[in-house]
């Protein structure tokens, strides 16, 4: 029973990180209708720049992490400027493939930066474990979850009330109309990619401080995509709910392992995705779009 509770609590905390990564994807989708496969790349970039600033360069943690996040944001800007802006208005296929190719570029950069080795993150936020009624809580993961939660509240309010947030949502609907209303569409796209890269960087640093810095971190980008699609592509509260849900189910998949020969947590998110999309094609919290000819 305690194992079970531990799995659930651990799943919720892990899901917090998934949600944070997924948030970046949703932000990009909300302003440009592009599903970004690059988010995992930003995550690794955040982890590696954070590691480089604190480890080899030996900067003060505060300055180092700020600098790493700034570099990540800059990466977001560059990526949008060089690769995504030229393909505005191109078919879906183009945007999918270009974001995948970008994630390959990030992967190769990270291979060049750290190679196949694991690197321990130089600073630990906290090593201690809270123990509440027998349930282990890692303080770092709890902190991640709280950061994710705070960012979520911020972005929900941002998209609902702030001028720029509203403009971003409008940009997703129709570029030309927004242009005519006096909104700089190009700037909106820049902002959304920068915010997404920032989210990726934050989650990368948090994740690196929990696990370690390695090139396989980018595969979390795929799980985050599952979270986004199950949540229904453009719902920020949905992502906050679905992230922990996937996290819990992944952790509970351990109980399936004896029957299938291990490793079921790698595929469980994708099986969930297939089932959910067959039952509810637009995700759990998505908008059903009505098509016209």
């Amino acid at each position: 029973m305690l194992d079970f509770l531990n799995a659930i609590v651990g799943g919720i905390l892990l899901g917090g990180i998934y949600s944070l990564v997924a948030l970046g994807i949703v932000i990009i989708y909300k302003s440009s209708k592009i599903l970004s496969f690059t988010q995992g790349g930003f995550l690794v970039m955040g982890a590696i720049t954070g590691w480089a600033m604190l480890g080899p360069f030996g900067l003060h943690p505060f300055i180092g992490i700020t600098l790493a996040l700034a570099i990540c944001t800059f990466f977001g800007y560059i990526v949008n400027r060089l690769a995504l802006r030229p393909i505005i208005g191109e078919p879906l296929m183009t945007s999918i493939l270009i974001t995948i190719a970008l994630s390959w570029l990030f992967d190769s950069l990270s291979i060049i930066a750290i190679g196949g080795k694991q690197r321990a993150f130089p600073i630990q936020i906290s090593n201690s474990q809270l123990n509440i009624a027998g349930i282990n809580l890692s303080v770092t993961m709890l902190l991640c979850f709280l950061i994710a939660f705070a960012l979520f509240i911020f972005f929900i309010l941002f998209y609902r009330y702030h001028r720029v947030g509203l403009a971003m949502r409008g940009t997703a609907e129709d570029h030309e109309v927004m242009q005519n209303l006096g909104i700089r569409v190009k700037n909106m796209l820049d902002y959304s990619w920068m915010i997404a890269a920032l989210c990726g960087g934050v989650s990368g640093i948090l994740l690196a401080s929990i696990i370690s810095v390695n090139i396989n971190l980018s595969s979390i980008g795929l799980t985050a995509l599952v979270v986004v699609l199950v949540a229904g592509l453009e719902s920020i509260p949905g992502v906050l709910i679905v992230g922990p849900m996937i996290g819990i189910l992944e952790n509970l998949a351990v109980y399936l392992d004896p029957y299938v020969g291990g490793g079921s947590r790698e595929v469980i998110p994708f099986i969930i995705l297939l089932i959910i999309l067959l039952i509810k094609p637009y995700g759990l919290f998505g908008l059903k779009r009505i098509e016209r000819i």
């Binding site: 296929m93 995948i100 390959w104 795929l222 994708f270 067959l278």
Partner: protein
């Protein structure tokens, strides 16, 4: 737009429907096929192996081209279905003791049906959702390859005995090359002709606007599933050829990376054409061979970069090539080829 050269007239509908409408085209095709099939006589083992791999991949990418380029259903899972075809053909041939040709056919058809299962969401979702369901299929299938140890050998993979037709064993690399080339030629021919039937035109209608196609009386769901079946049938044939050419199959040969590479080949070659996959596969395969050739030289000059460099280099090269093609020539090499041909045909007059 494919112009005819000056002086070539078409005076019957039948002539207009021909695949090769002028004599120079037919002669060029004949010469190409003759060179392709006599290549084992005067070329090295290395060149044959590269061309045979191109042939195998052309089959898979041709299938992906039918699904993605013609029917407009994005699939990021073709490599896994190639794997299904490879494993099934070997299982049918050796575990169940079927002869080679029926085993390959049955394996390809079963691959088609397995693809159909993962294509079912296509009836309800499209775009990003469909891309992700096929990606899910890719990851789930590779996981199954690794975990169904009894059938697939798990991480150890399977060693494949040479194929045999009527007692003739395809052991030597020349004979395997010829087998692959014959099958590739047949499959490309099938793909070309499929696009001239009602089914092919229905695919194009669905790609251009599936709702409008539905209103025009094309059963959207039926044709989407047919597209999935055909694409995965091609993947199955390609997988069977892979198994009997490489003589070893392993889950590592059919990863997500390969699926994306197939999509990249399709894009670089040009979607919505039969020549596209051939150009795209050849281009990326040759690029890969060049990086394999160049990487050791670079790592000799700069030894501090390390052995990881090759993996990073080939990833980066593929990524940059795909990005550049998407930005600057999203219709691929095939489009350049058509422009070039038309320029020669219309030479003195640029209409």
């Amino acid at each position: 737009m494919d112009w005819l050269p000056c002086g070539a007239y078409i005076d019957a509908y039948g002539k207009d429907m021909r695949v090769f409408r002028t004599w120079p085209q037919r002669i060029a095709l004949m010469l190409f096929l003759i060179v392709l099939f006599t290549l084992p006589l005067y070329s090295s083992r290395y060149i044959l192996s590269v061309i045979a791999m191109i042939g195998i991949l052309v089959i898979a990418v041709q299938g992906l081209g039918i699904l993605t380029g013609f029917a407009g259903q994005i699939s990021i899972g073709q490599a896994a279905f190639v794997g299904v075809g490879a494993y099934l053909s070997v299982i049918f041939n050796y575990r169940l003791g079927m002869p080679f040709v029926p085993a390959v056919l049955l394996a390809s058809i079963s691959t088609g049906f397995i693809g159909l299962i993962f294509g079912l969401p296509a009836m309800r979702v499209k775009g990003f959702y469909l891309a992700m369901t096929t990606l899910a299929a890719q990851l789930i299938l590779v996981w199954l390859f690794l975990h169904m140890r009894g059938l697939t050998g798990g991480t150890n993979g399977l060693f494949v005995e040479p194929a045999s037709i009527f007692g003739y064993k395809f052991v030597s690399y020349q004979s395997k090359y010829l087998l692959v080339m014959v099958v590739t030629a047949i499959m490309v021919f099938l793909a070309k002709n499929l696009m001239r039937t009602r089914t092919g035109r229905a695919f194009v209608a669905i790609r251009d606007n599936d709702l409008a196609a539905d209103v025009m009386g094309i059963n959207q769901n039926y044709y989407k599933l047919v597209a999935f079946f055909i694409a995965n049938f091609f993947a199955g044939v390609s997988g069977a050829m892979w198994a009997y050419y490489v003589n070893f199959i392993n889950a590592d040969q059919f990863l997500l990376h390969d699926s994306i590479l197939y999509l990249g080949m399709l894009i670089i070659g040009g979607m919505g054409s039969i020549m596209g996959p051939i150009f795209g596969v050849s281009f990326l395969k040759i690029l890969e061979e060049i990086t394999i050739y160049v990487a050791p030289i670079i790592s000799e000059i700069y030894p501090e970069i390390g052995s990881q460099f090759f993996a990073a280099l080939s990833l980066a090269v593929f990524a940059i090539v795909i990005i550049l093609f998407l930005i600057f020539e999203s219709r691929g090499i095939n489009h350049m080829w058509v422009i070039l041909k038309n320029r020669f045909r219309l030479y003195p007059f640029t209409y």
